[in-house]
Symmetry: D2
Subunit: 309 residues, 4 copies
Amino acid sequence: MTSANIDYQKVLNQIQQEFADIHPSGKVASYIPELAKVPSDKFGMHLYDLEGNNYNFGDSNERFSIQSISKVFTLALAMKVVGDDLWNRVGVEPSGDPFNSLSQLENDSGIPRNPYINAGALVVADVLVSYFTNPKAALLAFLHEITGDSSIDFDTTVAASEQAEGYRNYAMVNYLKSFGNIENDVEKVLDFYFHQCSIAMSCRELAQAFIIFANHGTVLDSDREFLTGRQVKRINALMQTCGFYDEAGEFSFEVGLPGKSGVGGGIVAVNPYHYAVAVWSPPLNPKGNSALGMAALERLTTLTGFSIF
Amino acid sequence: MTSANIDYQKVLNQIQQEFADIHPSGKVASYIPELAKVPSDKFGMHLYDLEGNNYNFGDSNERFSIQSISKVFTLALAMKVVGDDLWNRVGVEPSGDPFNSLSQLENDSGIPRNPYINAGALVVADVLVSYFTNPKAALLAFLHEITGDSSIDFDTTVAASEQAEGYRNYAMVNYLKSFGNIENDVEKVLDFYFHQCSIAMSCRELAQAFIIFANHGTVLDSDREFLTGRQVKRINALMQTCGFYDEAGEFSFEVGLPGKSGVGGGIVAVNPYHYAVAVWSPPLNPKGNSALGMAALERLTTLTGFSIF
Amino acid sequence: MTSANIDYQKVLNQIQQEFADIHPSGKVASYIPELAKVPSDKFGMHLYDLEGNNYNFGDSNERFSIQSISKVFTLALAMKVVGDDLWNRVGVEPSGDPFNSLSQLENDSGIPRNPYINAGALVVADVLVSYFTNPKAALLAFLHEITGDSSIDFDTTVAASEQAEGYRNYAMVNYLKSFGNIENDVEKVLDFYFHQCSIAMSCRELAQAFIIFANHGTVLDSDREFLTGRQVKRINALMQTCGFYDEAGEFSFEVGLPGKSGVGGGIVAVNPYHYAVAVWSPPLNPKGNSALGMAALERLTTLTGFSIF
Amino acid sequence: MTSANIDYQKVLNQIQQEFADIHPSGKVASYIPELAKVPSDKFGMHLYDLEGNNYNFGDSNERFSIQSISKVFTLALAMKVVGDDLWNRVGVEPSGDPFNSLSQLENDSGIPRNPYINAGALVVADVLVSYFTNPKAALLAFLHEITGDSSIDFDTTVAASEQAEGYRNYAMVNYLKSFGNIENDVEKVLDFYFHQCSIAMSCRELAQAFIIFANHGTVLDSDREFLTGRQVKRINALMQTCGFYDEAGEFSFEVGLPGKSGVGGGIVAVNPYHYAVAVWSPPLNPKGNSALGMAALERLTTLTGFSIF
């Protein structure tokens, strides 16, 4: 099976058309006041393949708040700098619980079930805060390097908005610290975490950034290996089993690709050896994932007859 | 990426050699008295690819009790006969709990989290008991058809052994029935379930049976489609996220293939579009999966540099 | 504080009058078909004090299904015959869960949290089935002895009705047996359990039976000690903390007496050193306790200004 | 039954003697560094009855950190100032979980199960912080008034010690605030809470303070009613069902009195209409309650043959 014989632009056009009159019933994330302001009818998609081709439609060039999609970038960076030691502090199993659940930590002595639930991402953030003198600059540098675009940046208004209402994340870090699984000052870890979530990127930029996960860890047209094949296998496996909180099974079942969603309405998915694809539509289903985004990706693998399964 | 340029026999030989002196520390399943009698040093592996080639080593032709691996066959058969109605009675999410947990049912009103935990497999069994006049014969017929081997059969000694000690499964079916999610008589459902688990197959037979999950639902050298591509995508996705109970993430992370284990020490995995592979070694790790089997499959995808991710 | 200066009949008359026009909004238990037939407006109350006086109103002489109230009798009998060994198989802590929850057993390796949740009562039933050649006869003999009334009997229609729909109790006993905490045949334990729940008694008979828990274990006008003071302290303490499932705190808080409810709509409470009181009204609140019964007992301790606290 | 015919001093002497050579195997609380410094062999007891008599032995006049015992005082004060509105924000059921569990809040939308687990006490603290301009002064004033001893004070070293390591309490307040069940600034609530826990009192002072809970809410030799009988009934009922975390049933079962423990090794218990008693021994059992304290109180009700049951 190869990507070559599929006309991706035609498939994307069909998806755009199929959903042209759909107004998804979900709600735009409102717990972060700044996100609630985003128009609910934004809709865009961008697919970038290993031959370097770009296919897209709609609002695919407009930046939005990537939120939890950033957890893939921080995980990749942490795996790069601390290696397998990371797995002493965070697990690799699906949680069966919502993204912001604290209950699981109680049974597992403060070891988050995986790096994509909030608790796990906070431990990963702590790892980066310990390792880098300036972790925020290091994260941006990593993104600039894999995308070749140095304009990608934090949205400090969003970060501040999240900080002001982030009681549950404050609860989470303090709770992790009570188990000894946070090394740094609570405020420092949360400042980094709220900033990573506030990063603004477009579907095009996300697809281009995620191509390393479809390409053994190497940027296209470059011989620079950012991650090893083993590391990429693990990052993709974690997206597959844990990328959509308590809807990971549903996404795997319907779409059949490793992927990661964010409450800003973005979803990125990877077809290893073939392409990375990003979609954006703000209204969320009850599990907190973009309703239209999931449907669009389901159509992508159904219309092409081509998933990892 | 194609399978063509890999010398699978050489890879299997290396795996056999690497583990020649390893005595896995796990324990052979003992809760079913009959299984406890199996020698702990049995070890075999068989890989069957889409070109029809067979590669193997060790005890790959010796039959063993497939136990929970049978859940993939019954799921496939149930999807075939009742279609998407099945998903009203069983979910598709990983459970985060052990295979025989009853707790989850309490929170979810008797809807098992997925068809590979025992509760879910019992609901699938009930579906088949409702649909077929002779469900045991129907299951064997299905296996005979996809493998072309009509000698595959139940091991009635094992079934009887499991029945005698199966209090937790009796508890499970009664509990499901209290929620109205079992239609048939408790004894009838359990009789079918204990029989499906008792099926004896070798690594070779399992690899050949599972090739339909690597080949869009079609048996090799045949134009008969047993399952649609969409059904196969879903079966594989469920193996990926739920095939190893509370170790599904670990298997996905280390091996990177959809697969299913059984307490008889067998594991089958699928590399869609490429091959199916079965491995057998009775000693189980603390999560109830074959310790050596998982390690051998990790070596397979590492040595070939080739997983679904 | 003594009972002497309170005119209990006047207090009961006032309670009867206050609730004369109240139609409690709860529902009569319907999961046991036979219980659903009981008229919802039945209402009676009987108080029996240590001086041997009887006070009552309404349907206090009509027998009804005592259901879970029987757990106090079986616990008392089990404590009498096996002593403190009982506590190796069942705990003494409130569960915080509904009466028929299975989840707790999973965390605590099959040791029920207390003898008043169904799981605990089933273990107590198993103890009696092991100890007595004819446990059903032994239980009736015990009741006949402490009440002096040999007409108290099982309602075999109710027992049969419960058996036919008792899937959750079947689940529970099998589950307990899977942990090794049931010694006897599942059917035998359940037959005893469904019979104990089916016992029919009136408020008058219940108050007279419970007087031993207000009187150090001794029947009034007799020197025969059925239970020691230490045993009675423990039985009362368990009623206080665990007698109303996940509403034990509410009952303790509002009423301030140890007590036990049944889904037949009965509640019995004890004011140690003073009196035993029973009330009956079939409609149940959402937690499964008689709505009017709880309210009537709250009025009793409020109007008399006299509880254990 | 009256208190009059019991020689309490003789009973206390016997208890002192029985435990003279016992070195309880528990551990002194170490999570608050300042508490870890207290000698483990401290042992004292003081009983104060409604006739105004004092009985005691050992270190009964030495002050120690009352810790969670303070939750009874803050609950009493909150009930006094806001009345039944309090129960909209905190429940009255035993939790079945450890004192510092966060899990329960997740299922119950941020309503703590009862006012004696940490989460509940933090909500009570928030109520007082909202009501009083100077809540710390108000709490001390309440204690000075009911004891007649104006030297009772906070131990600011202990409060600071707790604040420095109080990550789990920080987690709890932030978590409660994420559900909207904390009105005030997190730091302000915790500052009050750490101070209330740091109060230093002796067994004698505790017994004298708790006499209002044995005397309908009125201080001895005074006609001033601090709390109504209904309020006292509820406070005692909550101590009975929830005063010892997940060991409330055990305490009720063994001792048979409402009581409250603290990790400083103190326990206070009340025999309504008769006496209040306090005991102090720092080593804690695995549930976090004074091991020797529980044993001493069990001897008290056994030797006197007199509990609430």
